[in-house]
Symmetry: C2
Subunit: 458 residues, 2 copies
């Protein structure tokens, strides 16, 4: 059996942190085409070091996805998904240490990507090294794909999944991962929201002008503000006709899972530095809103002069970046068409809409055998049932392509060392180092448990 890995972990305590610091020292911002080739190389070399046969899955226009395969002692085949790209680090001035210089403070490791999701790459690598170091081989066959465009909406994953579907087939898939909650319960995630990411551009006059001409010239900034205001009521409800039509109601099993979740409100308020959530929501109402409400979010706004002091300019251009998070069974292309139709109908035909990314919502049903098996492993590890999210606010843009071309059931399990206050996508992203050790240990149990059954904790 494989429980000997505990000894390995005790004698190699700093290994996962070293791996993680190497991963986080290399910038890899897909949106800015920064460091992607170097990062692909680093990831591939680390997979080789953990015993994988690797290859690069290439499609035109994308940084290569790194693929690794390693045969295990049981016939069970598990697909793992991660991404080696990270979000941009801006606003840089809010970081207390440079985002690409991993820094330990008070038992926490700070760096862009340390939680989302290089931490999980390191935790998985470390688990494989431990399992091999203990038994000489892995308990299950692992197929691992690590792409480089998750944070820009995985625009080429469709092509990758289609071309390399045979490499990706497996009995189950562990997506980019979840963690443990404040009560020490493992959290499982069965679904992610869909996403439509667009940029709205408005052109007013052909050139910036002295604002003294404001009475007689078109204003790009006002036009954008008015177009945006037409999209959403102040109470948050999206005004685009038909926006909610395809949103299905939560099932009884989903509502039951929400009701059984650990109360994380205090931690979430502290993490986001808010006194209360919108509309004073709490309890089940808060959980339902978070899980099953689609949103229209303004991710960026830019027009005219934004520097220090005063500039009296009438800007010629204005821009907004928006993301719509979608619930089952909303379709991003349908929402895009409705957005365009709404703007046209409201007289904003001149507002240009460019799609920068899209993903469909994906949910794995509770009664899938893979789901039931992972629930059992999680419970046996923790001695209490996991806290299960039927769907989370985040998006894994690749899941739709994976479902269509590969058809493997999947979920997120606690292999990621991040926690509720990690600040993914925000300044000062970090993990707690204790959580990293736990993630490695959990991963070992998970991989072993899938091979031998659920009761591997002594």
């Amino acid at each position: 059996m494989v429980d000997g890995f505990e000894t390995y972990l005790d004698t190699h305590a700093g290994e996962a942190q070293l791996l993680l610091e190497r991963l986080c020292s290399q910038p890899s911002i897909a949106a800015q085409h920064l460091g992607m080739a170097e990062m692909a190389e680093l990831v591939e070399s680390l997979l080789v070091g953990a015993g994988f046969n690797t290859r690069r899955l290439c499609v035109e226009g994308a940084p290569p996805a790194i693929y690794g395969e390693q045969r295990g002692s049981s016939p069970y085949t598990l697909l793992l998904y991660n991404h080696y790209d990270v979000q941009p680090a801006e606003p840089l001035e809010l970081w207390h240490s440079p985002p690409f210089e991993p820094t330990v403070r008070d038992g926490k490791l700070y760096a862009r990507g340390v939680s989302d999701n290089k931490g999980e790459i390191a935790a998985r690598l470390s688990a494989f090294r431990a399992l091999r170091g203990t038994s000489g081989e892995l308990p299950v066959t692992i197929r691992w794909i690590i792409e480089g465009e998750e944070e820009v909406g995985s625009p080429h994953f469709e092509a990758v999944a289609e071309r390399y579907a045979d490499l990706l087939r497996a009995d189950g898939c562990l997506w980019e991962g979840a963690g443990f909650d404040v009560a020490g319960r493992p959290t499982l995630v069965l679904g992610t929201k869909g996403l439509l990411y667009v940029q709205l551009d408005v052109q007013g006059a052909g050139t910036d002008a002295h604002s003294g001409s404001a009475p007689i010239l078109p204003s790009a900034a006002w036009r954008l503000v008015e177009a945006l205001a037409s999209l959403r009521a102040p109470d948050g409800r999206v005004r685009i006709p038909g926006f909610y039509d395809a949103a299905r109601s939560p099932t009884p099993a989903e509502l039951e899972a929400l009701a059984d979740q650990t109360d994380m409100e205090t931690e979430m308020r502290r993490a986001y530095q808010v006194d209360a959530f919108v509309d004073g929501l709490t309890g089940m109402a808060l959980r339902k809103r978070q899980a099953f409400s689609p949103t229209s979010n303004i991710a960026g706004l830019l027009s005219g002069y934004t520097g220090e002091g005063v500039k009296t300019v009438l800007p010629a251009r204005a821009m907004a970046k928006m993301d719509f998070r979608l619930v089952p069974d909303q379709d991003p292309q349908d929402i895009l068409a409705k957005l365009r139709a709404h703007l046209d109908a409201e007289g904003y035909g001149d507002v240009r809409v460019s799609e920068l990314g899209s993903a469909e919502p994906v949910v794995t049903p509770f009664d899938d055998p893979f789901v039931q098996r992972v629930i059992g492993i999680a419970e046996s590890y923790a001695g209490q049932p996991p806290s299960i999210a039927p769907i989370i606010g985040g998006t894994l843009p690749l899941l739709g392509a994976l479902r269509r071309h590969v058809g493997v059931p999947g979920l997120s399990a606690p292999g990621n060392p991040g926690y509720w206050a990690s600040g993914a996508h925000a300044p000062n992203e970090h993990i707690r180092l204790d959580d990293l050790a736990r993630a490695v240990r959990y991963n070992c149990h998970m991989f072993a448990g899938l091979a031998y059954g659920c009761c591997i904790v002594s």
Copy 2:
């Protein structure tokens, strides 16, 4: 008599351009505290070189205003106003040559400030050098103040005018100047709009968040968009209660002047690169809107991620810069109070409003003797009556202080080499070099005319 200056001008043809290139090579961006000390030094040295006794008018917190005085052969005393600061040069990527490297292309000189208003400083300096070079002295006594904060709303001019009122008294004042229109008519400007410049800041959650939390967290960007949308109807009408209360109607003389203006619509459409003006305005309706409509303009918008590609962030902060251009007899402090009251009444008490600058509208009446005298000189120079703007969209923030503490009547006359397409405040600001020569010549006539009467053209 002084008409000998024509000979001087012919033999010193490049002098004004050289002076102007020196002035424009030195950045002097008040908003960014860039190059102000160096610019003050350069201006003072050029005034000394043109025969002025200079001193620095200092008040705490401001770059020094440069003051020069030179006694003339007649008792007439003329006050001149200019400013040595310029607008920020952003967006830099739209400039075809660096903004602080004066560059000649196709008979035009490109640089930030070349039109607004270093061109006029150069044209006045050059006129004084010509008049002295011809007669050994100036025809009138000149008092010249050149401040360094006009483009940030002249926040310290009130203190300067109060402390140094005795130095500024004169029979009339030529403000920062006007030019010639497309028909070759001199243009006179009798008034400028008031200004209220504010920054609106909104804080949502305490930190940027992953946009997957958008269903339950406050959004600073949406909050700002909604607050802005409450301020203005899509037709441009300002919704702040009482905003228009103090706006007086144009007088018959003002309407008559508007009707007599040269038609500049083609040139303006070309300069702003628009097919039409707002609401399809043309003719008198266009002129009335431009002259007598107060505006609320969005000069800048910023929130979240504005770089390349995709970042799925829920930004914690959002900011807008706004300028309100005001007509007689609107008062900027009254408008500020009404803006605050409106936001509070609409439920936007959390939207922070910071005043970054203000100025009252100032108009000199048609029947002022100084106005009549300048009209006569302009007509005698051009052989046709000037085109007169009772009020323009721009603002000279110092005029209120000048009126209160000094009381000298003023206007803008064609001493500025800029033209309707100069792009003041915009990228690729430029003048036509032929206009620079004309501005110098006109200034010579103007100064001589004020001393000796209006008929100095042979």
